[in-house]
Amino acid sequence: MENFETLRMLRVGQQAVIKKITVGGEMGRRIRDMGIVPGTVFTVMGRAPLKDPVEIKLKGYNLTLRNNEADHILVQTEEG
C-alpha cells in the first residue's frame, strides 16, 4: 500500500486514522468486530512493559492488541 504506516510503528500519544485492514479470517474478523474499521480515528494510549501489547482509544473506548495484530492495520498519521 502507498505510504501508510502500520499501527505497530506509532508512538504513544500519536493520533491516526485507520486506512485498511490487511488480514482476513478469524483475526480480520475480530479486529473488525472491535470497531477497528477504515475511517476510524484513534490515539495510541500506551504500551505494556515489554512494548507489547499496545493500547489504543477509539470512538470513546479502549482496546488492546498485540503487535503482530497491529501489523495488519494500516494507518495514516495526522502529519503524514
Partner: protein, 712 residues
C-alpha cells in the same frame, strides 16, 4: 391475552452491563448450567409479568455473531434452534457505535428485537446526547433507555419486549446493502435457494448467502450437506472473491463489515450529539498509573499477592469450622456405630469424602469473590495487558497468571480454585494449557510432604530448599505449557485484541450472585464425583482385610500388651500389616520394580497411591507404612527423625521424592474439577497420565544423575 409463555433471550457485548441487566430482571432466582456439549455457561430465570410467564435466557456476551468463538456459536445456535420470542440486546450507550454492530447482526438475522440503551448515565457524563426515539425510528426497532445497575428502565424494557413478542411472530430480516458487487452476488446466490429454502426456516436465504460470502465455516458445513446447493455456491463465491480482490483489494468479509459500520455510522450521526470533544476520562487517568510501564507491574504483583493472602486468610476460619464439624461428626459416628466395615466406610469413606468436598468451599468462594471484583472493576483485563508478552512465550495468556498463583505459585495455594480461575481465559487452547499445568504448582497439601522431607534431610537449608522448589514448580509448569502448546494443544492462539473496559465500582449484589452461583456449581457437580472417588480410595486402602487367622493373631498380641505404650506400638504394627495387605499395599509392592530406579520402596509407593486422595495423605500413609500410626501432617517431627535414620533413605532420594510429589497426578478433587471445567473425562485423564509420566522421568533423571555424580 394473559397466560402466554414468552422466552426472552438477553444478548449484548461483554462489558455492556448485560449481567447487571440479567440480575436486575431475575434477581436471585437464577439457574446456572451449561449449553449442551460445551463448557459455555448458560444462565436462565423465570419471572411473571402482567400474567405472562417469562423465561429469560442470558446468552454469552459476544461482539459478533460469527462462527469463530464458542460463545458466538452458542449464542447463534440458540437463536436459530430455540427461536426465542424476542431478543433484548443490551448496548452500552457510552460506546454505541461498536455495540450496534451486534444489533445490526440480529436485525440481519431477523429475530424480533428490542434494544436496551444501557448505561445512559455514563453516556450523559461523557457529554453524549442520545435521542432514543430517533434511534428507534432509524433502526426500526424499539429502543428503551436503561441504567441496569440502578434498576432504571427495566420495567419499561420488559413491557416493550413482551409487546414486541406478541406483535411480531415472524422473523423479519433486514436487507442491508453491502455495495453493488456483494449485493449482486447475494442476488445470484439467493436465486439458487428457491425450493430448498424451506429447510432453512427460520433463516432467510439471503442471510445464508451472506454467511457463505463471509466464509462462515458453520453455515458452509450446513450447505455442503445439500450437494445441489453446494455445487452452485462455490463458483459464485469464488467469482466474488476474485472480483473484490481485483477491484477493491479486499475480501468479502471486509467489505461486508465496512458496509455494516457505514450503516451504523449514518444512524449514529443523526441520533447522537457529541456535546464536547473527547477527553481523558477518569479511567484513562487511573490507567496512567496502573498500567504504567514501571509502576504497573509492581502494583500488579502487590495486587496478586494481596488476593492470595486474602483468599487463604479469609477462608482459614470457615475451613476450621468445617474441619471441626466433620471431626465432630466422625467422633459421633465413632461412638455410635459398632466396630467393623460399616464404621470404617462411614468415617473414612463418606464423612471424609463429604468433608473433602465442603472443605474446599470457603476457598472457592473467596477466590471467586476476588475474581469477581477484578472482573467487575475492569482490572482483570489490565492483568492480561501487562503480562501477555511474557506468558505468550509459553503459549499461555496474560490472565493465566491468576490461576497459577492461586494454585500455589505462592507456596500454599490450591489447584482446585486455581483450575476454576482459568475460566477467565477466553482463548480455549491457552485455557486448557493453563488448566493442565497449574496442578504442578506447590499447593498447600504438598507443603507437609516437603516439611517432612526437608526436616529429615535438608534441615540446615530449609528456606533455600522451599524457595528452590517454588522456582522449580514455576519453571516446570511453564515448560509443560510450552510443550503442550507445541503438541496436543498445537495451533494458532486466538486473536488477543481485547477491550479494556473503563474502571467501574462493582455492586455488592452482583459480586454475591457471581460468587454464590459458581460455588454452588462446584458443590453440585464436583461433589458427587469427589464423594465417589473418596469411597473408592477408602476401599483401596482397606481391602482386602487381613485373613481371619492373622487378624486374630494381631488382636491377641494387642490384648497381651501390658502397658498402654506397648499396646499402641502393636496397633501401629497391625496397621502396617493391614495396609500392606490392602489393594493399595499390593499396588505399592507390585510397583516396586517400576519405582526402584527412582529409589522408592513399597512404602513410598503406597504413600504415593494414597496421595492421590490429597497430597498430604502421603505423610499420614508413610506414617502407617513405617508402623508409626497415622502421622498428623501438621506434626511430622517424629516421622522425620525416623526417616533420617532409616536405611535406604538419603537426601537424593528425598529430593527425587519431593519432585515426584510436586509433579505427579493431581489429587482427585482437582481431577474432578478439571472434568467439570473441560466438560468430559478426556482431559482429566490426560492430566493424570502426562503428569505421572513426567514425574517419573524427571525423578528418574535426578536420582540416577545424582547417583552418577556420587550424591546418593
Amino acid at each position: 391475552m394473559s397466560g402466554e409463555k414468552i422466552t426472552i433471550a438477553l444478548a449484548g457485548n461483554p462489558n455492556s452491563g448485560k449481567t447487571s441487566m440479567f440480575n436486575a430482571i431475575t434477581g436471585a432466582r437464577q439457574h446456572v448450567g451449561n449449553y449442551p456439549g460445551v463448557t459455555v455457561e448458560k444462565k436462565w430465570g423465570h419471572i411473571s409479568l402482567n400474567g405472562h410467564d417469562l423465561e429469560i435466557v442470558d446468552l454469552p456476551g459476544t461482539y459478533s455473531l460469527t462462527a469463530y468463538s464458542m460463545e458466538e456459536l452458542v449464542a447463534r445456535d440458540y437463536l436459530i434452534k430455540q427461536k426465542p420470542d424476542v431478543v433484548i440486546d443490551v448496548v452500552d450507550a457510552a460506546n454505541l457505535e461498536r455495540n450496534l454492530y451486534l444489533a445490526v447482526q440480529f436485525m440481519e438475522l431477523g429475530v424480533p428485537l428490542v434494544i436496551a440503551l444501557n448505561m445512559m448515565d455514563v453516556a450523559e457524563g461523557r457529554g453524549l446526547k442520545i435521542d432514543p426515539d430517533k434511534l428507534s425510528r432509524l433502526m426500526g426497532v424499539p429502543v428503551v433507555p436503561t441504567v441496569a445497575r440502578k434498576g432504571k428502565g427495566v420495567k419499561q424494557l420488559l413491557g416493550e419486549a413482551v409487546e414486541t413478542a406478541l406483535r411480531q411472530k415472524q422473523w423479519r430480516p433486514l436487507e442491508l446493502s453491502y455495495g453493488p458487487d456483494v449485493d449482486q452476488a447475494l442476488l445470484e446466490l439467493t436465486g439458487k435457494f428457491n425450493g430448498n429454502s424451506l429447510a432453512w426456516s427460520p433463516l432467510g436465504a439471503r442471510w445464508v448467502s451472506l454467511k457463505l460470502l463471509e466464509n462462515d465455516a458453520e453455515v458452509q458445513k450446513q450447505v455442503s450437506q445439500d450437494p445441489g446447493l453446494a455445487g452452485h455456491m462455490e463458483p459464485l463465491r469464488q467469482k466474488l472473491r476474485d472480483h473484490l480482490r481485483l477491484t477493491m483489494d479486499d475480501d468479502p468479509e471486509g467489505v461486508i463489515a465496512d458496509y455494516r459500520y457505514g450503516f451504523i455510522g449514518g444512524i449514529y450521526r443523526q441520533a447522537v450529539q457529541e456535546t464536547r470533544a473527547q477527553r481523558l476520562e477518569l479511567s484513562d487517568k487511573i490507567d496512567k498509573v496502573l498500567t504504567n510501564r514501571l509502576v504497573g507491574p509492581l502494583i500488579l504483583l502487590a495486587v496478586l499477592y494481596g488476593i492470595y493472602q486474602f483468599v487463604f486468610w479469609a477462608s482459614e476460619i470457615p475451613v476450621g469450622w468445617l474441619e471441626g464439624l466433620f471431626g465432630w461428626l466422625g467422633g459421633v459416628a465413632e461412638a455410635a456405630i459398632p466396630e467393623g466395615f460399616v464404621k470404617s466406610l462411614v468415617i473414612s469413606g463418606i464423612i471424609d469424602g463429604v468433608g473433602g468436598v465442603l472443605g474446599f468451599v470457603p476457598l472457592i468462594m473467596f477466590m471467586f469473590f476476588t475474581i469477581a471484583i477484578l472482573e467487575d472493576t475492569g482490572y482483570l483485563a489490565r492483568v492480561a495487558y501487562l503480562l501477555d508478552r511474557v506468558l505468550r512465550n509459553f503459549g499461555l495468556h496474560g490472565n493465566s497468571v491468576m490461576a497459577m498463583i492461586v494454585s500455589g505459585g505462592i507456596s500454599g495455594g490450591c489447584a482446585v480454585p486455581g483450575v476454576m480461575a482459568a475460566r477467565t481465559l477466553r482463548d480455549p487452547k491457552a485455557r486448557l494449557a493453563t488448566i493442565l499445568t497449574v496442578p504442578m504448582m506447590n499447593c498447600g497439601a504438598k507443603l507437609p510432604v516437603y516439611a517432612l522431607l526437608i526436616g529429615a534431610f535438608f534441615a540446615a537449608r530449609e528456606a533455600q530448599m522451599l524457595f528452590a522448589l517454588t522456582l522449580v514448580s514455576w519453571g516446570l509448569a511453564l515448560i509443560a505449557a510450552r510443550i503442550l502448546r507445541w503438541t496436543v494443544l498445537k495451533g494458532e492462539t486466538s486473536p488477543f485484541v481485547m477491550e479494556l473496559p473503563p474502571y467501574r465500582l462493582p455492586t455488592l449484589r452482583g459480586l454475591l450472585i457471581h460468587t454464590w452461583e459458581r460455588t454452588w456449581q462446584y458443590i453440585k457437580k464436583a461433589g458427587t464425583v469427589i464423594l465417589g472417588i473418596s469411597i473408592l480410595m477408602w476401599a483401596l486402602m482397606s481391602f482386602p482385610a487381613l485373613p481371619e487367622d492373622q487378624a486374630a493373631a494381631w488382636d491377641a498380641k494387642v490384648q497381651a500388651a501390658t502397658t498402654k505404650e506397648l499396646r499402641q506400638e502393636v496397633e501401629y504394627h497391625k496397621g502396617q500389616a493391614e495396609l500392606a495387605h490392602s489393594v493399595a499395599g499390593r499396588m505399592g509392592r507390585a510397583l516396586h520394580y517400576v519405582t526402584a530406579p527412582l529409589g522408592f520402596d513399597w512404602r513410598t509407593n503406597v504413600a504415593l497411591v494414597g496421595g492421590f486422595a490429597a497430597k498430604e495423605v502421603v505423610v499420614s500413609t508413610l506414617g502407617t507404612a513405617y508402623s508409626m500410626g497415622e502421622v498428623d501432617p501438621e506434626d511430622t517431627v517424629g516421622l522425620s527423625e525416623r526417616l533420617a535414620k532409616e536405611p535406604g533413605w538419603n537426601p537424593l532420594k528425598a529430593f527425587a521424592l519431593m519432585l515426584f510429589v510436586m509433579i505427579y497426578a493431581p489429587c482427585f478433587v482437582t481431577v474432578a474439577v478439571i472434568r467439570n471445567e473441560t466438560g468430559g473425562w478426556k482431559w482429566p485423564l490426560f492430566a493424570v497420565a502426562y503428569t505421572t509420566v513426567s514425574a517419573y522421568v524427571i525423578s528418574f533423571l535426578v536420582y540416577q544423575g545424582g547417583k552418577l555424580l556420587g550424591l546418593g
